[in-house]
C-alpha cells in the first residue's frame, strides 16, 4: 500500500512539473531571480534624449545628452542602473559598404606585395571607386529609416553620465568613418547588472553632423590677437616715424659685446647653442636674431664662431642667419659653411658632443639662447668648468634656475624676446616690444577686474575670457 501511495505521489508530481515550469515562465518579465540574488526590476528609461552636431569641430561627430534614469541615483547604493548603452540606427547597406572597404584593403595589400598579379592595381582602384560611390549614397541609406536597417551598439557611458559623443573618423577609408550630412537616429538603453534587464529610451532623430569653418569658442583669442596686432602696428609706425622708444638695459645682452671682445683678445672661439627647439619655436626664432647680432660682431672682430645644432632645419636657418651677418659685416669670404653644423637629434648625445667641444676648443664665451630642457645644467656646468663667460636665455621656466646658478648672465623668459629688439633696434621689433608691454598692462588691469568680478559674481565679465575647445 505504501508503495502504491509513493508511486501515486511521484505521478502527481511529474504531472504538476510542467505546470510549475509554466508558472516560472509566466513570472513577470520585469524581474529575475539569480540564485539567491534578489530580483532586479526593469529600470526606468532615460528621458529627454537629444542630440546635436558637435560644435566647433571638423564634423563626423554628434553630441548626445539625456536625463538620468529614475533608477540611476548617484551615491545611492540601491540604484540599479549600471551603465547606458548607446545605439545608432544603421542601414543594412552599411554592411555592404564595409564589405567593399575590407575587399579594397585586401586588394591593396595584394597589390603592394612583391608577388602582385597582373591587374591587381586596377582591381584595387575599381574597389576604391566603388567604395567611394557607396559612401556618396550614405545620406539616402540613412533616409530610408526605419526600413532596411537595424540598431547598432556604438558605445556605452557609465551610470551617472548624461552625455555621449558619437565621434567617428574623418578618414573615408577608416573602419570607423562617420559620414556627415546623414540623418542619424539614436536610442539609449539603461542597463542593469543583468544585461538582459534594460529599458530603452524614446528614439531621437534625425540629427546630422557637419564641420564648422569658424570656431566660436576661440573668439576671445581672435580678439586678443587682433588687438595685439593693431597695437604692434601702431607702435611700429611710431618707431618708423622716428619716435625714440625706450628699452630698459638688459645686463645679459650688454655683456654680449664685452664677451665677444674678450674672445677676440684671448684668441679663442665663441660657442653659440641654439637649444633643442625647432625652428618654429618662439624662443628659437628670438635666438636667430641674437645669433645674427653675435655673428656680425664676430665677423667684424674676425673671431671664430662655433654653432652646433640639434635640429636640421634650425641648422639650415642658422647657416642663413650667419651667412647674412657676415655679408652685413662686409666679410662674406670669411664665412665658413662648417660654422653652423648638425650634431644629432638625440638629446644627451648632443650634450655629450657639445660638452666635448667645450673642453677641447675652450671657447672664451658660451651663449645659450633658445629652448632648453634637461641638458641645460649639463651644458652650463661644463662651460663653467672650462672657464668660459656664459650668457644664457630661455623661456623654459624649469631650466632658468640652472642657468642662473651656472651662468654669468641669464635672460629670464620674455627677456629673451626683448633682447632681440634691444640688440637690433629695428622699428618692427621695438614696436612689438612696446605692444607687449601694453598687452601686459591690459592683463594686469583685466586680471584685477576679473578677480573682483569673481568675488562679486559678475560672471558676464569672466565669461568674456573663456576659451573652449
Amino acid at each position: 500500500m505504501k508503495y502504491k501511495l509513493f508511486m501515486l505521489a511521484i505521478g502527481v508530481l511529474l504531472c504538476a512539473l510542467p505546470l510549475l515550469a509554466q508558472e516560472v515562465e509566466e513570472a513577470p518579465p520585469d524581474s529575475m531571480v539569480v540564485g539567491s540574488v534578489p530580483a532586479i526590476p526593469t529600470p526606468a528609461p532615460v528621458t529627454q534624449l537629444s542630440g546635436e552636431d558637435g560644435k566647433n569641430d571638423h564634423g563626423h561627430a554628434v553630441m548626445l545628452s539625456w536625463e538620468l534614469s529614475a533608477d540611476d541615483r548617484p551615491g545611492d547604493t540601491t540604484s540599479t542602473v549600471l551603465s547606458y548603452e548607446v545605439f545608432r540606427w544603421v542601414p543594412s547597406m552599411a554592411d555592404t559598404v564595409e564589405a567593399v572597404r575590407l575587399a579594397y584593403e585586401e586588394a591593396d595589400a595584394i597589390m603592394r606585395s612583391d608577388d602582385a598579379p597582373e591587374g591587381a592595381r586596377d582591381k584595387r582602384n575599381d574597389l576604391r571607386t566603388r567604395y567611394f560611390d557607396l559612401l556618396e549614397q550614405y545620406p539616402e541609406f540613412y533616409a530610408s529609416y526605419p526600413e532596411n536597417g537595424n540598431w547598432k551598439n556604438i558605445g556605452a557611458s557609465p551610470s551617472g553620465s548624461t552625455t555621449y559623443e558619437d565621434q567617428g573618423s574623418k578618414e573615408r577609408l577608416a573602419s570607423d568613418y562617420l559620414p556627415d550630412f546623414c540623418d542619424f537616429r539614436y536610442r539609449v538603453d539603461a542597463v542593469t547588472a543583468v544585461a538582459t534587464i534594460r529599458s530603452s529610451s524614446e528614439i531621437f532623430g534625425p540629427v546630422q553632423s557637419s564641420g564648422q569653418y569658424f570656431n566660436t569658442g576661440r573668439v576671445p583669442i581672435l580678439i586678443g590677437v587682433l588687438v595685439f596686432g593693431l597695437l604692434t602696428l601702431l607702435f611700429v609706425q611710431q618707431a618708423r616715424g622716428g619716435k625714440d622708444l625706450y628699452v630698459r638695459p638688459l645686463a645679459g645682452i650688454e655683456a654680449v659685446d664685452d664677451a665677444i671682445g674678450r674672445a677676440t683678445e684671448m684668441g679663442r672661439p665663441i660657442l653659440y647653442v641654439l637649444g633643442l627647439g625647432s625652428a618654429s619655436d618662439v624662443a628659437t626664432i628670438a635666438s636667430f636674431t641674437i645669433l645674427g647680432r653675435v655673428a656680425k660682431r664676430v665677423a667684424e672682430y674676425q673671431t671664430e664662431l662655433i654653432v652646433p645644432t640639434y635640429d636640421p632645419i634650425v641648422m639650415s636657418v642658422g647657416q642663413e642667419v650667419v651667412r647674412s651677418a657676415y655679408l652685413d659685416a662686409g666679410r662674406p669670404d670669411d664665412y665658413k659653411e662648417d660654422t653652423v653644423y648638425f650634431v644629432t637629434q638625440s638629446q644627451f648625445a648632443y650634450v655629450a658632443a657639445v660638452n666635448g667641444t667645450m673642453l677641447r676648443e675652450l671657447p672664451a664665451t658660451n651663449v645659450y639662447m633658445g629652448k632648453f630642457f634637461a641638458e641645460s645644467l649639463l651644458l652650463a656646468e661644463t662651460g663653467a668648468v672650462a672657464g668660459s663667460i656664459q650668457i644664457a636665455g630661455t623661456d623654459e621656466i624649469a631650466q632658468i634656475p640652472f642657468f642662473i646658478v651656472a651662468c654669468d648672465y641669464t635672460l629670464i623668459g620674455e627677456e629673451l624676446y626683448a633682447a632681440s629688439a634691444y640688440l637690433g633696434r629695428e622699428p618692427i621689433l621695438l614696436g612689438s616690444l612696446k605692444a607687449q608691454d601694453w598687452a601686459k598692462a591690459a592683463i594686469i588691469v583685466f586680471g584685477t577686474i576679473g578677480l573682483l568680478a569673481a568675488n562679486f559674481n559678475w560672471t558676464f565679465f569672466t565669461e568674456l575670457f573663456r576659451v573652449t575647445n
Partner: protein, 273 residues
C-alpha cells in the same frame, strides 16, 4: 645571465663609467663614449625618421604600389607638395641653387608662426587670465581650510599671494619703462617671487637628477657586479661583499671630488667678485 648578455651589461657599465670619467677631465674613454653615442643616435634617428616620419606620412600616402607612378592613384596626391618642398631643401648642396632652399624654409617658419600665435595667445594669455577670474578669494577660509594653516595652498591667503605675485612678476617684465620708484619696487618684489619659484624648481629637479644617478649606480652594482659575479663567468665564484665595498669607495671618492671641485669653483667666484 648568459655570457652574451653579460658582455652587453659590461659594455653598458663601461660606457657609464666612461661618461662619469668626464667629471675628472676630458679623456680618451669619454671621447670613445661620446663618439659612440653620437654616432649610434644619429643612425638610430635616421631610422626613426624613416619609419615614423617619411614612410607613414609621405610615402605610404602617395604610394600605390608602383614606384614609377608613385602618386598616380593616391587618395592624397597633394602630399606631393611637401615632398617637392622637402626636395627643394637639398638644393643647399649647390652654391648656385642654394637660394631655392629658402622657399620651403620661409614657408615652414611662416606656417609654424601662424599656428603658434593663436596657440600661445590661448594657452599663455586667455586661459591664464581666465584661471585668475575663475575662482573668488576664499574669505571664509582665508588662513587655511578648516583652521589656521599658512601652508594650505587652497586658502584665501594663498590665492591672494599667487595673484599679487603673478602681477608683480608681470611688472618685472615691462621693458619700455624704467624700473624706478613704486614701479621699480613692485618689479623687485616680482623678481623675488620669481627667484623663490626658481629655487623650489631647482631643488625639485636636482632631486630628480640624483635619482637618475642612483639608477646608474644601481645598474652597475645590481646588473653588472652582482649578476656578473654570480654567474661564474668571472674567475671568482659568488658575489663577494668586498667588491661592493671597493665599488662604493670609488663612488665616494668621485662624489668627494665633485664636491671639492664645486667648492673650489665657488671660492674662485667669490675672489673674482
Amino acid at each position: 645571465m648568459d655570457f652574451g648578455l653579460y658582455l652587453w651589461t659590461t659594455l653598458g657599465a663601461f660606457l657609464t663609467l666612461a661618461i662619469f670619467s668626464f667629471l675628472y677631465k676630458d679623456n680618451p674613454f669619454y671621447k670613445i663614449a661620446e663618439h659612440l653615442v653620437v654616432g649610434v643616435s644619429a643612425g638610430y634617428f635616421a631610422v626613426i625618421l624613416w619609419h615614423n616620419g617619411l614612410s607613414p606620412n609621405l610615402f605610404q600616402r602617395l604610394n600605390d604600389g608602383n614606384w614609377y607612378f608613385l602618386w598616380m592613384d593616391s587618395t592624397a596626391p597633394w602630399y606631393l607638395i611637401p615632398a617637392i618642398l622637402g626636395i627643394m631643401m637639398y638644393t643647399r648642396f649647390s652654391k648656385k641653387w642654394a637660394w631655392v632652399s629658402r622657399w620651403p624654409m620661409a614657408l615652414y617658419i611662416g606656417i609654424a608662426t601662424g599656428v603658434a600665435i593663436p596657440l600661445e595667445m590661448g594657452a599663455r594669455v586667455n586661459r591664464q587670465l581666465f584661471a585668475i577670474m575663475e575662482r573668488s578669494i576664499d574669505w571664509a577660509n582665508f588662513f587655511g581650510v578648516g583652521g589656521f594653516n599658512l601652508l594650505d595652498t587652497a586658502s584665501g591667503l594663498s590665492q591672494l599671494i599667487v595673484f599679487v605675485g603673478a602681477m608683480a612678476a608681470l611688472i618685472y617684465f615691462f621693458f619700455s619703462k624704467e624700473h624706478t620708484g613704486l614701479f621699480g619696487a613692485t618689479a623687485k618684489f616680482g623678481i623675488w617671487i620669481l627667484m623663490i619659484g626658481f629655487g623650489a624648481s631647482f631643488g625639485y629637479t636636482v632631486m630628480a637628477r640624483i635619482s637618475l644617478f642612483i639608477n646608474r649606480i644601481q645598474y652597475i652594482d645590481n646588473n653588472w657586479l652582482q649578476n656578473g659575479l654570480n654567474t661564474g663567468i668571472t674567475p671568482i665564484e659568488g658575489y663577494h661583499a668586498g667588491y661592493a665595498v671597493i665599488f662604493w669607495l670609488v663612488v665616494l671618492i668621485v662624489v668627494g671630488y665633485i664636491i671639492r671641485e664645486i667648492m673650489t669653483y665657488l671660492k674662485t667666484k667669490e675672489k673674482s667678485a
